[in-house]
């Protein structure tokens, strides 16, 4: 008798390897002294150290949030090491000077810092653990006045911009993990696109976690000045680990009048093994502010990795006629848990937002959509459209939806559509009868389910995302 849909065996995590590089690690635990050490190692100005310390003091008064629909053992924040950098990070002139071991890691991951990327028009600011080790296409970007560099470099070379915008979208007091990040953030990416400039290429950054038990606290700040346009791609893969690793990043986007920021993520952190051992805790605060009129911020995310995902890329629609978008695919398999969604906060007149969320649950995975649509009293004519679809594979997984809608202006239009479906035996058999394997069938059905989101991704990411989806769900159908 057919048991129909069962749990599959996960393919070994492809990117599970550890690079043997001499790391400069701060001893575990957090104190003002550790923060001063981090700041000193990075030769930071006094104002930034003060900002970190304020964040730390605030963090001490805060409690880890437990409202998300996820479950995990308590995190011992004193057992985490808050800084890790490959040693010998004096400025490099060329790739020849980069530790060959690092370059090999990038190669294994298919990340090329060389001409290939130049030819494909992608500038890569690769982040290895916490310190940026190589940047390409700088000259090309510089010609257009675009600043794209590591966060640390931005602090040194563009302190006024950093000072003006750091914490302007996600204040250090925002939430527990954002406060922690603000206190200890190691490095990250910084981008500024000046007035009227359309960034000439897609920008991308690869984040990875390498040192064992080293928390990752990336900080990204992207600013599109008036009438500027930028598209940013973020891809994540992490070497395999047996202990859980905390990742608490903060991403802030600012769009001034008439500006457009598009931020795309493919997240494939290590999800733990098929028994739920190991994997990354991905507790991320991502938020954008449409500060000026007629600006637009668009988030697209494909979340296939991490043991636990907690993130709500949001948009504050402050400028009149501004537009916020959130397109999301979140996949959980085995014992993965995800609580993800968005917040759209309508402040300005005629602000519009679109939310398309596709949640896929397989194995014993638990997937929650959590979204808030808030229309404030002055947001005349605000509109929101939300579509929230869940797909279940097998009968041991779960899909949950927590939509919050608060409307304080009676000229607003808010729509919410939701559906839950199950990959049917009949669909799989139909595909098989046409000659496709079960895995091809699942991959095809799921890709079809996610089509509206995939088509928002830049081309090279769309292909990768589709492949990742297939890999993540491999074996989820017997």
């Amino acid at each position: 008798m057919s048991t129909a849909i069962e749990s599959l065996v996960n393919r070994e995590y492809q990117y599970g390897f550890v690079t043997d590089v001499d790391s400069d690690v701060v001893p575990p635990g957090l104190s003002e002294e550790v923060i001063r050490t981090i700041s000193a190692k990075k030769n930071e100005p006094e104002w930034l150290l003060e900002w970190r310390l304020k964040a730390y003091r605030r963090w001490l008064t805060m409690k880890e949030p437990h409202w998300p629909n996820v479950h995990y053992a308590p995190i011992d924040y004193d057992a985490v090491s808050y800084y890790s950098a490959p040693k010998s990070v004096k400025p490099l002139q060329s790739l020849d000077e980069v530790d060959p071991e690092l370059l090999r890691t990038y190669e294994k991951l298919g990340i090329s810092l060389t001409e290939q990327k130049m030819l494909s028009g992608v500038a890569v600011d690769a982040i290895f653990d916490s310190v940026s080790v190589g940047t390409t296409m700088r000259d090309e970007l510089a010609k257009h006045g675009v600043i794209f560099c590591s966060f640390g470099e931005a602090v040194r070379e563009h302190p006024d911009l950093v000072k003006k915008y750091l914490g302007s979208v996600v204040p250090y007091s925002d939430n527990f993990f954002a406060a922690l990040n603000s206190a200890v953030f190691s490095d990250g990416s910084f981008c500024y696109v000046p007035k009227g400039v359309k960034c000439p290429m897609e920008l991308s950054t690869y984040f990875r976690i390498n040192s064992a038990d080293t928390g990752q606290f990336e900080r990204t700040l992207i600013i599109a000045d008036e009438a500027a346009t930028v598209s940013y791609l973020e891809g994540c893969t992490a070497p395999k680990r047996s202990t859980n690793q905390l990742h608490a990043a903060v991403v802030e986007l600012v769009a001034l009048e008439g500006a457009t920021v598009k931020y795309s993520t493919v997240q494939n952190w290590y999800a733990g093994d098929e028994n739920g051992v190991g994997g990354i805790y991905n507790f991320v605060t991502k938020r954008g502010k449409c500060a000026g009129a007629n600006s637009k911020i668009s988030w697209t995310q494909v979340e296939t990795g991490s043991a636990i995902t907690w993130k709500y890329p949001s948009v504050i629609l402050q400028g009149d006629n501004s537009v916020g978008e959130f397109y999301s695919v979140a996949v959980v398999n085995n014992h993965q848990q995800a609580d993800t969604g968005t917040k759209m906060i309508h402040i300005g007149k005629n602000t519009r937002s679109t939310i398309v969320s596709k949640g896929i649950s397989a194995g014993q995975g638990q997937n929650s959509y959590r979204g808030r649509v808030q229309v404030l009293p002055k947001a005349h004519g605000a509109r929101n459209y939300t579509q929230c679809d869940s797909m279940l594979i097998g009968n041991r997984c779960g899909a949950h939806t927590f939509p919050y809608i608060e409307v304080e202006n009676n000229t607003a239009t808010v729509e919410h559509e939701a559906s839950t479906s199950k990959i049917g035996e009949d669909q799989i058999f139909y595909c098989k009868q046409r000659g496709l394997s079960a895995e091809q069938a699942v991959s095809m059905i799921v890709s079809g389910f996610c089509r509206e989101v995939f088509q928002e991704l830049p081309m090279e990411f769309a292909v990768e995302a589709q492949q990742l989806l297939g890999i993540t769900l491999e074996g989820s159908v017997g």
Binding site: M1, S2, A4, G424, E425, D426, Q427, F429, Y430, C431, K432, Q433, R434, G435, L436, S437, A438, Q440, M444, I445, S447, G448, F449, C450, R451, E452
Partner: protein
């Protein structure tokens, strides 16, 4: 081509097929008829390898192989095609993508190269004419929002592209008006060749006015109770099934 002996099969521990014997040779069209619940669709599903059905006994040889040992996708790759009674919807997957993926799997199994996308488009557009389908149907999601007739035509289109050795049409006439019936049957007839065979599963005789069978079998209570030429179908139409059942 196909040699079924004493085939017994069921679903959810209920035996439906209670010993089927049937031999199909290349070039032949066999009609399997019978009242509701006689096991016609079960036979079609079992031959295609639907895992919801369990084989309880008997053998099925297909081109010298033990068919029952093969996975459903392998059966498809070896040339068995089932036109579904209820074609399944796959939202977000275009008809073109689905069909090209299927064709490529079948070609790979035959040791052929994958088809070039442009070549595929030429092929599929030509075959669409057979079933009078608009090319725009290629960009719609598989069967989603299709009318009953469109779904059935789409099944025949898939068959026309995949060029199976053994096609099994499961109640392809159900829910079709007379024009759609004529189109679907026309497509099936155009695909008849001396080296392929067709099993037409149907409740009504009317489809057999268009697809003329070489043999007609009456299935009742999980057994073939009577076999004959095409005139048997006409007799059934006239006299109903009770007459055969009583005789059996």
């Amino acid at each position: 081509m196909l040699d079924i002996q004493s085939l017994r099969a069921g679903i959810a521990e209920r035996e439906i097929l209670k010993g089927i014997d049937l031999v199909v040779n290349p070039g032949e069209v066999h009609a399997v008829m019978g009242p509701n619940g006689s096991g016609k669709s079960t036979l079609a599903q079992v031959l295609a390898g639907n895992p919801a059905y369990e084989v309880l006994g008997g053998t099925v040889q297909y081109r010298g192989e033990d068919l029952l040992e093969l996975e459903p996708e392998v059966r498809a790759q070896r040339g068995i095609f089932l036109a579904f009674q209820y074609p399944v919807e796959i939202p977000g997957v275009t008809n073109a993508y689905f069909l090209r993926s299927a064709l490529n799997e079948v070609r790979k199994a035959r040791g052929e190269e994958e088809i070039d996308p442009l070549e595929f488009l030429d092929l599929v557009e030509e075959r669409m004419k057979l079933v009078e389908m608009e090319p725009s149907m290629l960009n719609r999601s598989v069967n989603q929002g299709f009318s009953g007739g469109e779904k059935k035509r789409n099944e025949i289109l898939q068959m026309a592209v995949l060029e199976p050795s053994l096609a099994i049409l499961d109640e392809t006439d159900s829910g079709l008006d007379i024009d759609a019936l004529r189109i679907v049957a026309g497509g099936v007839n155009a695909l008849r060749r001396p080296d392929n065979a067709t099993i037409v599963v149907t409740h009504y005789q009317r489809l057999l006015n268009y697809i003329v069978p070489d043999y007609v079998h009456v299935l009742a209570g999980g057994r073939i109770v009577r076999s004959g030429g095409k005139e048997l179908a006409l007799e059934l139409e006239e006299r109903g099934y009770d007459w055969v059942l009583d005789a059996a």
